[in-house]
């Protein structure tokens, strides 16, 4: 087991390095420069490139960046927040994204689970269809429209929640953004729970449990749900990464100082360091979560471990 974990961790680190290199190469493909092209002359441009070391070959830039990163230095922003260390930008913004994303995951997972369970237990009835429709509607309307509609109804017409994020009342003002973010998770979890539950409920051991006279809540929660939960968590894991690293749409509409809008702004204004750092954090989180899930899986189900070890 230890050997397996060690092997996986080493591969993950290697993968991350490859990703970083790929990101560097991608940045080279980006047309335009981070600086104000229209009004700069050649001397000024050369001075700017020299100042930030952008006149060096990609590989030198890459190794220098890796070196700095090991010391916790992600470089500075060239454009969206000039000369601000990116570590500072991330330190103030990532927690906001994580909080709102976490809130959204919680809402989405709970509601999704309930909808999925109802749908599975009332399979092929009108209730099933209604649950499916509710969960699909959530992802049928683009999130920006949904977010604005929520803001209009709850923020403007009824005035029960703030329309914009505001750090002074972070919890209250996170409700609308989190709800609009949670829709996708809710739909995925609802759908997945339903399928998994149907599979579990159709299996022999459930029949056995039922014939042993177990019924009601105990049957659902102790026997059925428990077995369905593992695959659900697998689906949830990448969704968590997506939500935690911020969403452009929701951040833009609710004026949230998160990392999602930062990434998009950075891409559009060629702020290389910001794009690289944020993408890298995303990749690292993603790989870490997948790694944890894999290892947990290995602990829970030895068959997988064996298959992977051999592979």
């Amino acid at each position: 087991m230890k050997k397996y974990v060690a092997k996986r961790v080493i591969t993950a680190i290697f993968t991350l390095l490859v990703i970083l290199l790929v990101l560097f190469i991608l940045m080279q493909l980006m047309p335009g420069s981070p600086f104000n092209d229209e009004k700069l002359n050649a001397d000024q441009k050369a001075a700017l490139y020299a100042k930030y070391g952008l006149d060096q070959p990609v590989f030198i830039q890459f190794f220098r960046y890796v070196g700095n990163m090991l010391r916790g230095d992600f470089g500075v922003s060239y454009n969206i927040s000039k000369n601000t260390p990116i570590s500072q930008l991330i330190a103030t913004r990532l927690p906001v994204s994580i909080a709102i994303g976490g809130f959204a995951v919680a809402i989405g997972a709970v509601i999704g689970l309930i909808l999925g369970l109802i749908a599975a237990f009332r399979h092929d009835t009108i209730l099933d269809t209604i649950c499916t429709i509710i969960s699909v509607i959530g992802v049928s309307v683009p999130s920006y429209v949904f977010a604005l509609a929520l803001s209009y109804q709850f923020g403007y017409v009824w005035q029960v929640f703030p329309m914009l994020y505001n750090s002074a009342e972070a919890l209250n003002s996170s409700v609308l953004p989190s709800v609009s973010l949670s829709m996708f998770t809710m739909a995925s979890i609802a759908r997945f729970t339903r399928t998994e539950m149907l599979e579990v409920l159709g299996s022999e051991y459930m029949l056995l449990a039922e014939s042993k006279g177990i019924s009601g809540a105990s049957l659902i929660f102790r026997h059925a749900l428990r077995n369905a939960l593992i695959p659900i968590i697998t689906v949830l894991a990448p969704l968590i990464v997506d939500l935690m690293t911020g969403s452009l749409v929701v951040e833009k509409i609710f004026a949230i100082p998160g990392v999602g809008s930062l990434l998009v702004n950075a891409i559009q204004s060629n702020d290389y360091n910001v794009v690289i750092s944020l993408s890298f954090i995303y990749s690292a989180l993603y790989i870490a979560i997948m790694l944890v899930v894999d290892i947990l899986y290995g602990i829970i189900d030895p068959r997988i471990r064996l298959a992977k070890d051999n592979g």
Binding site: P31, G32, S33, F35, N36, D37, E38, K39, L40, N41, A42, D43, Q44, A47, L48, A50, K51, S77, N79, I80, S81, K82, N83, T84, P85, Q88, L89, T92, R93, L148, S151, Y152, G155, Y156, Q159, M163, L164, Y165, N166, S167, K252, I253, F254, A255, I256, P257, S261, L262, Q268, S269, N270
Partner: protein, 558 residues
């Protein structure tokens, strides 16, 4: 790049007023506290202000965008400040003298204090200005010092040929600052309210190091407000009135509450619930606020135009084709039916309401002067078109236009396409939307056929536009070249006409005539912004150049 040498003895005071935008209700009284009477009572509330984009930098020598300039100016005063009509008025400078040849400015500083208690001295200006040209700092706005400000040695320092200490600015003593120029610059005083020229205290700067301008503790104020809540790229931040401001009596607001909102519908809803006192809205929303006294269209200064690639696309080397295309544009329909934000249709190569001539009139007040070469006239356009096609020996043209991937340009481009295709038989226009950065890059590389672009004035003289069409200028993307034109522009900058304001002005008209006759660009409109300003608020000053908004004189009644 050809040097932009703008030497001139322009007699008239330059006035950068509010551009004459259509639409909106008649402007209410904008200035109340301007007389400077001491009003003892300070209204207890903050002004809630909407921003479209976050601040990029609070370092006056590094900032390049309008938002950053506005916020820096909220808490910093330069030598001069911007009056409501855009004229420079003394701020940190109590008085100034200009030498007879116009090459030396001497400023006498008043007793102003930084918010940490140290006095504002001439050395603070020297330090800041040297930073602006220092290649190690690599300020993107260093050209304000060199090309535009014409400060002695700036050019050479930027190029790394001289040390920054040789910049033509010296602190004679604590309260006296001397500036030397290469050539007389008529608008030099008005540059003094441009944030690149704002002072920075050297001792404080060195004490905070790289973190300068990243938090309330790392900025220093000598202006009307003090930053008390800020993070880099924050979506909300706050400034409070500076009690120690040298002109504190004039400031009526308790503070400024900035909120970044990128979605214009959220902005309007927030305005309607009272969470914002002033906000920008988009053209589509104008339907919703028409007739509201709070709605105003405010000049933003930008001229939007289409640039044909004359050198590289043979179709556009043909004058008839260019004429046909510019005359097939219905500019009124674009501004009235599509933009709706009050933007003004423009038929001249220099936009309206920013450059005033020796006789006090606007350079582009007469929008009909080029109507035989630039007006909406479908019949004439078709005539030119057919003549052009004949010369090219074809009956069909397919052209691509590159467009910024933003709301307004995308809308305008769609209308242009439709207008051109319906008016000019055999023409197909394909639109390619790109992020602005790439669009600019493509145009710089000459990798385009038609480009929809804009230009904002750097200073209040027609030269900021006309200077672009000189052979080999960086921004002459279409690579048009005309010897007569080059000569006029050279005469007007450093040549014989440079010292004769009236003659220079007529020559500039001649130059503009050439640009229009040759259809070097197809001017479209002068941009305006649709703003909501609560009737409770008066005295916010809007400007198309330098500082977009000034709040020093703003008053908010309860």
């Amino acid at each position: 790049m050809k040097k932009k040498i703008l030497a001139v003895a322009l007699a008239a005071a330059m006035v950068v007023g509010m551009a004459g935008c259509g639409g909106g209700s008649s402007a209410p009284e904008t200035s109340t506290g301007a007389e400077g009477e001491a009003t003892a009572e300070v209204s207890g509330s903050d002004l809630n202000v909407m921003l479209e984009t976050p601040v990029q930098s609070l370092d006056p020598q590094q900032a390049t965008d309008g938002t950053s300039f506005e916020v820096i100016a909220d808490y910093t005063d330069g030598l001069m400040q911007m009056a409501e009509d855009g004229a420079p008025v003394e701020a940190i400078a109590e008085s100034y003298e200009v030498s007879e040849d116009g090459l030396t400015y001497t400023f006498h500083l008043r007793d102003a204090k930084w918010s940490n208690g140290t006095p504002v001295t001439a050395a603070d200006f020297v330090f800041a200005w040297q930073r602006a040209v220092d290649p190690a700092v690599a300020s993107e706005y260093s050209y304000m010092m060199s090309d535009i400000g014409q400060i002695k040695n700036a050019e050479a320092i930027i190029a790394g040929e001289k040390d920054k200490s040789e910049l033509g600015v010296t602190a004679v003593d604590d309260k006296t600052l001397k500036v030397e120029l290469n050539v007389p610059v008529s608008y030099f005083l008005s540059l003094m309210y441009f944030p690149t020229f704002y002072p920075v205290n050297e001792e404080f700067f060195n004490s905070v190091g790289d973190s300068f301008g990243t938090s309330p503790d790392t900025v220093l104020s000598n202006g009307a407000f003090v930053m008390d809540d800020y993070q880099p790229a924050a979506t909300a931040f706050h400034l409070t009135k500076n009690a120690d401001y040298w002109d504190a009596d004039r400031v009526q607001l308790a503070g400024l509450n900035y909120q970044v909102i990128q979605d214009s519908q959220q902005a309007l809803m927030n305005y309607q619930t009272g969470a914002l006192d002033t906000t920008l809205i988009n053209g589509d929303q104008v339907d919703q606020v028409e007739g509201d006294e709070a709605f105003r269209a405010i000049g933003a200064g930008y001229l939007w135009y289409v640039s044909p690639n004359i050198a590289k696309v043979k179709e556009f080397d043909n004058l008839n084709i260019r004429m046909a295309m510019t005359m097939a544009i219905n500019r009124d329909a674009i501004t009235q039916d599509v933009l709706k934000d009050g933007s003004a249709p423009t038929y001249t190569a220099v936009p309206m309401d920013f450059a005033t001539g020796p006789d006090g009139s606007d350079f582009s007040a007469d929008q009909t002067k080029f109507s035989d070469v630039c007006a909406f006239d479908a019949d004439k356009a078709v005539e030119f078109w057919n003549a052009g096609l004949k010369e090219l020996g074809t009956d069909k043209l397919e052209i691509e236009m590159i467009v910024d991937d933003d709301d307004a340009p995308k809308k305008v481009a769609q209308v242009l396409k439709e207008q051109w295709e319906t008016t000019l038989p055999g023409l197909t226009v394909n639109l390619k939307t790109e992020p602005k950065k790439q669009r600019v890059k493509d145009m710089e590389d000459g990798n385009y056929q038609l480009g929809l672009t804009r230009w904002g004035p750097d200073y209040a003289d027609p030269m900021t536009y006309l200077g672009m069409w000189v052979t080999d200028n960086n921004n002459n993307y279409g690579l048009w070249t005309n010897a007569d034109y080059d000569k006029i522009i050279a005469d007007c900058t450093t040549g014989e006409l440079a010292l004769d304001a009236e003659k220079r002005w007529t020559s500039l008209y001649d130059a503009e005539q050439i640009v229009m006759n040759e259809a070097v660009i197809f001017p479209l409109y002068t941009q305006c912004n649709a703003e909501m300003i609560s009737p409770k608020v008066t005295g916010i000053e809007f400007h198309p150049v330098a500082l977009n908004r000034v709040f020093k004189n703003a008053v908010k009644s309860e």
